[in-house]
């Protein structure tokens, strides 16, 4: 079912970017304010779902040619390796490190390995949600 509502599609395009950037913000800020990998990932997925509803799956697939299964696997791998990495330094599994850095333009910022783990969560959530939506939507 190819929808052809120009206004809907135009709005969707703009709203997609708004939600997408908001989701990235939510994800990044998660360590200090409400948010994090789960919400970020779900928001990103909902942005893509919005596109799917406004256009159709085939179009979205050509615009965003990700293999979501691989995305899930990458996320899992990232989370697992972040958790396993400290073992090579003689620390227990799942030890996180953080420090504060003075970055140009951004000023004093903290960098966490927990962020990497959360990134894995983000990827898994996006991957799984989109896998589900895509497979159900494409069925027959």
């Amino acid at each position: 079912m190819k929808t052809n509502d120009v206004i809907l599609q135009f709005t969707a395009k703009i709203v997609f970017f708004i939600i997408f950037f908001f989701s990235i913000h939510i994800f990044m800020a998660g360590h200090y304010t409400p948010g994090g990998g789960f919400v970020g990932g779900l928001l990103t997925s909902s942005a893509i779902v919005l596109l799917v509803l406004a256009f159709d799956l085939k179009t979205v697939r050509t615009v965003l040619p990700f293999n979501y299964t691989y995305l899930t696997a990458t996320g899992l791998l990232l989370a697992l390796s972040t958790a396993a990495f400290p073992m090579f330094l003689g620390e227990p599994f799942f030890t996180h490190f953080f420090d504060y850095f003075d970055l140009p333009l951004l000023g004093k910022q903290s960098l966490h390995t927990a962020m990497l783990f959360d990134g894995g969560v983000y990827l898994v959530v996006v991957g799984v949600t989109m896998t589900i939506i895509q497979t159900i939507g494409e069925d027959e």
Binding site: G35, G36, L42, T135
Partner: protein, 804 residues
């Protein structure tokens, strides 16, 4: 440490076998495998000289230190003798298997992996000093035996035999574990040596008899004693190298090992002497008597093995008698334990060679049915020679090693006649008589085996294949064993001093200080003693009965099939099968709703029961958060939404109802200061709605005519019960804060240790990262499962093809 690792060498080598098999196709995998037992023989041979002097070697490798479980390798005379048998016979069997199993047709990697696994397990059994690891290795031998018997798993008989052997031996092993645990409770230690040291204190313990009986059950099932022997004939479905190795030379002797090893602990018990001697003799007679009924060559050998195991078992029982006699070392009783070990060695040599010959005949003629065989003497002269040596030794004729140990067996049984404890003065006379009759039958079946196969009429038309002598490689192993049969006859005292006496000292440590203290000299001729007359009688009556065998063999068919132990086993297994199926059918109705009803009722019963027992019903209203008007409005919306899902006629209404509940819950999260949850719930709810919409097209309607659910009482009762239960839990949890919240720790450390501000998020990614890691794993699995359900299904054409 190193000594413990020797046990595991075969197991480690087994890892390489599949790779060798896959990558090197031209060379038979067996040649690589052969190196393993051959190396181990050399390693263990280096211990011989020292152990013969009475030294013991011990090494330990911790396994589960927190439970005080470690793998202890303890090498004394008994363990070393068994280790040498395992690796020595193992080498010959592997050599034999190279020619027996075709490298192109057989799944060699499976075979050798199982065989090496068995080798490790068996070494572990005979060297373990720790009861738990002994049990572990013991069951591992049962499992590898199961795998080897079922090696040709496409045959029904193989699978049946494999299962039967496992059922019986693993069952017995569990009994033995019970015995071990009782022993450790009594003695406060898992170490066999420590138990032996404190053995005198254990006798009076109320659990002593229990542990004795349980341990013997393990030994009797493994060593195929009456009435558990029934698994051994069925185990003959295994490839012949396996039968020669596991089911005559090594695994079935694990039970004998166990009895020998625990003799110092249990021998003081009258029950032990009676059970071990009595069951052994009964098995000896039973096995030899029914061996003549068999028509399958390997069947004869199986019953013969059963019978010979019984012989050794009865001798071990006789050895225990020595603990009850003052100055036993000077008396005739001393022969029993010596004879047991000596015959154990002899049996391994002659029975191993006979099994290999049976395998050769099967291989070269295509049949093992003794009714079809005959006259092979001129065609297979070498095989005949080996078979004759083995059989004559088994029959107890000179100049073969079987003669020596049989004479000693008769001496020991005659000596029991003179023993005056435990009512032996009344029943003791039975022992030599039963032993003598069983020896006659042993004589007859030995002749039956060799002469029915090699003498008599040659009937080539009955053979599936044209018979010819076996290739020389296949004959090497049986010939080596046959050579031992003869050599041992001429140098019995060398064998006795090197192997038997150290082992006997391990069985009877209270009698002898060192192996050299054992004052036994084996000689073929010891004057005109009663033993000699008994042997002459055996030969005369044996020959007469063998000649007349065709006339009376029909008697065996008079035994009704329904009274055999095999039949009992079949009936028990079948009964269990049918009975348990009926029981499970009572509640396994196949209906999801029934299962759910069980579960919900169970949960309610358990939880309410716990609340009641713990007296958790006291409800306080203190500390509750204040109620605000907008909260009441939300609650009303929530209740309406929930009611809608129940009462809805159409699926769309129901889905909308569910969605409204979800959004209301999100609002609850907002007012209860949970912004993360509120965000997540909102987005999830949105995506869920999209999901339902996408799937809507495929979804079934609510009932055929979109109607309301009918009210059902039992459902209503269960649901209300669950609702009440949950309410009570919530009230109880609110009223009774038993322990302070752990969150205080999080609040204090979130900035200093984790460098974060949002505690919920930090808990997720840091404090409780494991939860999250597994959660995203579960999520991925759900995603993959959905993908699989939709993408990987068969289309209709494929399905139609499948159904054909």
């Amino acid at each position: 440490m190193l000594q413990v690792l020797y046990i595991f060498i075969p197991m480690l080598a087994a890892i390489l076998v599949p790779f060798l098999y896959k990558s090197i196709k031209n060379i038979h995998t067996g040649w690589f495998v052969l190196a393993v037992p051959a190396t181990l023989v050399i390693i263990y041979a280096s211990y011989i000289a020292k152990v013969a002097k009475g030294e013991v070697f011990q090494a330990e490798l911790p396994w589960i230190p927190s439970l005080d479980i470690s793998v202890v390798s303890y090498l004394d005379g008994l363990s070393l003798l068994f280790s040498l048998l395992i690796t020595g016979i193992g080498s010959l069997v592997v050599l034999y298997s190279i020619f027996y199993l075709d490298k192109h047709k057989e799944k060699l990697h499976n075979f050798y992996v199982y065989l090496l696994l068995f080798m490790s397990a068996m070494l572990g059994v005979v060297q373990s000093d720790h009861l738990i690891t002994l049990y572990f290795f013991w069951e591992l031998t049962s499992i590898s035996s199961f795998l080897l018997i079922g090696y040709w798993y496409t045959r029904d008989a193989s699978r049946f035999g494999a299962l039967k052997s496992m059922m019986i031996t693993v069952g017995g092993g569990l009994m033995m574990l019970g015995g071990f645990i009782l022993l450790s409770i009594m003695g406060g230690t898992y170490s066999i040596r420590e138990l032996i040291v404190i053995a005198p204190d254990l006798v009076g313990h109320p659990l002593f008899t229990w542990s004795l009986v349980l341990l013997l059950l393990g030994a009797f099932t493994k060593s195929a004693q009456f009435p558990f022997y029934i698994w051994l004939p069925d185990a003959m479905e295994a490839p012949t190298p396996v039968s020669a190795y596991l089911h005559s030379a090594t695994m079935v002797k694990a039970g004998l090992y166990l009895v020998a090893r625990f003799t110092p602990i249990f021998a003081v018990s009258e029950l032990w002497v009676w059970l071990v001697t009595g069951v052994g003799l009964l098995t000896l007679f039973w096995g030899s008597f029914f061996a003549l009924k068999q028509t399958d060559l390997k069947g004869i050998l199986a019953f013969s093995t059963v019978s010979q195991l019984g012989l050794i078992m009865s001798l071990l029982g006789g050895g225990a008698v020595a603990f009850h006699v003052n100055g036993a070392a000077d008396l005739v009783f001393k022969f029993a334990a010596f004879a047991a070990i000596f015959h154990l060695i002899n049996h391994a040599t002659f029975k191993g060679s006979l099994f290999m010959i049976a395998g050769i005949i099967d291989h070269e003629t295509g049949t093992r049915d003794i009714r079809k065989l005959g006259g092979l003497m001129s065609i297979m002269p070498l095989s005949f020679t080996v078979a004759a040596i083995g059989s004559f030794s088994m029959a107890g004729l000179p100049p073969f090693n079987g003669f020596l140990s049989k004479e000693m067996f008769l001496s020991a049984m005659l000596a029991l006649n003179e023993f005056e404890l435990f009512g032996f003065d009344t029943w003791g006379a039975l022992f030599p008589i039963v032993a003598w009759i069983a020896s006659i039958f042993t004589f007859i079946y030995s002749f039956y085996f060799v002469f029915r196969t090699f003498a008599g009429q040659y009937k080539p038309e009955q053979f599936p294949r044209k018979p010819h002598e076996a290739p020389i490689g296949m004959l090497i192993s049986p010939m080596i064993l046959a050579a031992f049969v003869v050599i041992i006859f001429f140098i019995p005292n060398l064998i006795g001093d090197t192997f038997v006496k150290p082992a006997v000292q391990a069985i009877q440590p209270f009698l002898y200080d060192s192996p050299s203290a054992i004052d036994i000299h084996v000689s073929a001729w010891h004057g005109l003693q009663p033993e000699l007359f008994m042997t002459i009688g055996i030969v005369i009556i044996g020959v007469l009965l063998f000649v007349a065998l065709p006339k009376w063999q029909g008697l065996y068919n008079l035994f009704p099939r329904s009274l055999t132990f095999n039949n009992a086993y079949d009936k028990i297994m079948q009964g269990l099968d049918v009975g348990l199926y009926r029981i499970s059918r009572l509640y396994m109705t196949g209906s999801m709703r029934h299962y759910l009803l069980y579960m919900f009722s169970g949960i309610v019963a358990i939880v309410l029961g716990t609340l009641f027992v713990k007296d958790a019903f006291s409800i306080s209203f203190e500390g509750a958060a204040p109620i605000r008007s907008y909260q009441i409005i939300l609650i009303i919306v929530l209740v309406i939404g929930t009611a809608t899902t129940i009462l809805a006629k159409s699926r769309l209404t129901a889905i909308i109802g569910l969605g409204s509940v979800g959004y209301t819950v999100a609002l609850f999260f907002v007012i209860f200061n949970a912004p993360d949850l509120a965000l997540t719930q909102l987005v999830i709810e949105t995506i869920s709605v999209a999901l339902f919409l996408l799937a809507f097209y495929h979804l079934p309607k609510l009932g055929k005519r979109e109607e309301r659910m009918r009210f059902q009482l039992n459902r209503a009762i269960i649901s209300i019960a669950v609702g009440v239960m949950v309410t009570l839990i919530a009230l109880s949890a609110h009223s009774q804060k038993l322990i302070p919240s752990i969150s205080k720790y999080y609040k204090e450390t979130v900035y200093s240790l984790a460098g974060g501000g949002n505690i919920v998020n930090v808990i997720l990614v840091d404090y409780r990262g494991f939860d999250t890691l597994f959660e995203i794993t579960v999520l991925s699995i759900a995603g993959m499962a959905i993908l699989a359900m939709i993408k990987l299904r068969m289309n209709r054409k494929e399905k139609a093809h499948e159904n054909k």
